[in-house]
């Protein structure tokens, strides 16, 4: 499969959406932006799935990025979105770097549940911290984009456009990474870690590295979400948020770097529909869908594309 073509197509779709933005309702643009944010976090998750690992606590970095952006804007009066984005990436990347020392040593269920544990620890800490608004969180002030403060009527488009930019950069980077020797090694480690070690590679170092990258991606997603929603709170680190990300990852599959975003979009649509009908059964919907997808569509929605769609490239 030729990823480069996928990325070009994605860019075209993005440009198309921006050009047609006058015809797209506000709620749809909001949903798209959230899908972008989630997609970023899931892109990070997808890297792990390639290595055969599942993180049940991806929300940790999503939340870290969001709070970093929010705090910078609220307490330090820095409202330039590019700065917020960069700082979020650094903050979540650093968090991943530290935690990676412990987590990169584990595989399978340990890795999964340890990451869940850390995300819940952050949740607990945030909830108990009055200065950060505990369970209520706090609002994020309006942002400037490259110095320009968008008018209320176009702010959604502007943020969406920024999100698109971040996605295109990230996706290109990940694509290059996956094709590089380090990226190939990631899949090799999933298949036969011992062999890789016997050839001189360090599985731990590789996984640590990808853990940091995954954390950065999720952090960037969190920053996008913070700006788009205008509000952050501890539930961004709650296990249910991680659960939704896993669901999207499995929905989208690991076939391509743009799969997470397609999965996120589909998820956004399902969420909007299901939530408006019955908010108390949302988790059940995810759970049942997850079971359905795992048992019947092991490669996610992407495998449907291969079955029914034309084989591109």
């Amino acid at each position: 499969m030729n990823f480069d073509k996928s990325i070009v197509r994605l860019a075209i779709v993005f440009i198309g959406i921006l050009l047609l933005s006058g015809f797209i309702p506000q709620w749809a643009m909001f949903m798209l932006t959230i899908a972008c944010a989630n997609g970023m976090a899931v892109l990070g998750l997808m890297l792990f799935l390639r290595a055969g690992l599942v993180s049940f606590g991806q929300a940790l970095f999503f939340c870290t990025g969001a709070y970093a952006a929010g705090l910078l804007a609220l307490k330090f009066d820095i409202t330039e979105m590019t700065v917020l984005i960069i700082v979020s990436g650094i903050a979540s990347g650093f968090m991943a770097y530290i935690l990676g020392f412990l987590l990169a040593k584990y595989r399978g269920i340990f890795f999964g549940l340890l990451s869940l544990a850390f995300s819940m620890i952050l949740y607990g800490l945030l909830v108990k911290t009055e200065a950060l608004g505990s369970t209520d969180g706090f609002n994020v002030p309006a942002v400037t984009i490259f110095g320009w403060l968008p008018d209320l009527s176009v702010v959604r488009v502007a943020v969406l456009g920024m999100a698109f930019l971040i996605i295109l950069l990230s996706v290109s980077f990940v694509n290059m990474l996956l094709k590089s020797p380090r990226g190939l090694l990631l899949t090799a480690i999933r298949d036969n870690e011992i062999r890789a070690e016997y050839m001189g590679a360090s599985a731990q170092k590789t996984i640590h590295l990808f853990y940091v990258i995954s954390g950065v991606l999720a952090g960037l997603g969190g920053a996008i979400a913070a700006v788009a929603v205008g509000h952050i709170d501890p539930t961004m680190s709650f296990w249910t948020t991680s659960g939704e990300m896993i669901f999207i990852a499995i929905l989208g599959g690991t076939g391509s770097v743009i799969a997470p975003f397609i999965g996120a979009l589909v998820f956004g649509i399902i969420h909007t529909i299901a939530f408006s009908y019955s908010p108390n059964t949302w988790q059940m919907v995810i759970g049942l869908s997850l079971i359905f997808v795992i048992l019947l569509l092991p490669n996610g929605l992407w495998s449907l594309r291969e079955k029914f769609g034309k084989r591109k490239s």
Partner: protein, 266 residues
């Protein structure tokens, strides 16, 4: 003869009541080909595992190129120049034969670039002078595997998996190559061809080779020197003609029906 590249000194290893290695002393000359023989449980695999870092001896040392490698991790030992193949081929099953080799050369490339994230796939590996893809294709050709290039490792036949496993071990251009039963699980017709091909590919770089084998014909054909293991001890350390005629070796390892005087059993 040239210098000693590997020196195992007084290696001892026990697992509970079982003595897997009893005061093993071996000096390996650079560029030589060593055959390790012995029945299962005699200690040859334990010896190999201690050299490659998979097991730590209870006492004794392994000196490689003047350096004590006894306590090092397998990864470090590989970086220093000892690489092994496996009795049951260890491949990356979901990847193609070509990709398996690309991963292997990719690791070399990473090591030379100090693990940099931005190591480019299509830039040549400095000390090899060729790109990863090219090296992988050449390795396939050298081992006669070109037709399996795009087949997933999982579906490859036994002999091919064996060759691929060895080709991968060779990718790091080790100073010492350890082959663990290179012809086991391979049909009688293929055995000789495979070993011939392996040894031809391997000897091009004046690599020191140590191989574990049960087939005495292969041992006679390729080994310059034979180490015979029994009960954790080395009971013979001679050229094949001598070792395979040693009465103890015949009694414990080769068996009366397979001794050189009784050819034709295979």
């Amino acid at each position: 003869m040239s210098n000693v590249i590997l020196h195992a000194e007084g290696l001892n290893k026990s697992f509970g009541a079982v003595t897997a290695a009893a005061n093993i002393n071996v000096e390996v000359q650079q560029g030589s080909v060593l055959g390790l023989i012995g029945t299962n449980g005699a200690g040859k695999t334990t010896f190999v595992n201690m050299i490659t870092g998979y097991l730590k001896p209870d006492s004794g040392k392994v000196i490689f190129g003047g350096r004590d490698i006894t306590r090092l991790a397998p990864r470090e030992i590989t970086k220093l120049g000892i690489c092994r193949s496996f009795q049951i081929p260890q491949l990356y099953n979901s990847m193609t034969a070509l990709e398996n080799l690309e991963v292997s050369y990719g690791i070399v490339s990473l090591m030379e670039n100090n693990g940099s994230l931005f190591t480019k796939t299509n830039a040549p590996i400095p000390s090899y002078g060729k790109t990863i893809r090219l090296l992988a294709e050449e390795a396939l050709e050298k081992f006669g595997l070109t037709q399996y290039r795009d087949k997933t490792a999982r579906v490859l036949p036994g002999g091919v998996r064996k060759l691929l496993d060895i080709a991968m071990a060779m990718s790091v251009r080790p100073k010492i190559l350890l082959l663990d039963e290179p012809t086991s699980g391979v049909s009688a017709e293929e055995k000789f061809d495979i070993m011939d091909m392996v040894m031809k590919a391997v000897r091009q770089g004046n690599t020191t080779v140590m191989f574990v084998e049960h087939d005495m014909d292969i041992v006679s054909r390729h080994a310059e020197r034979v180490l015979a293991f029994y009960s954790g001890e080395i009971i013979a350390d001679e050229a094949p003609e001598i070792a395979l005629r040693d009465p103890r070796v015949i009694k414990y390892i080769v068996g009366e029906n397979h001794s050189p005087a009784h050819q034709g059993e295979h």
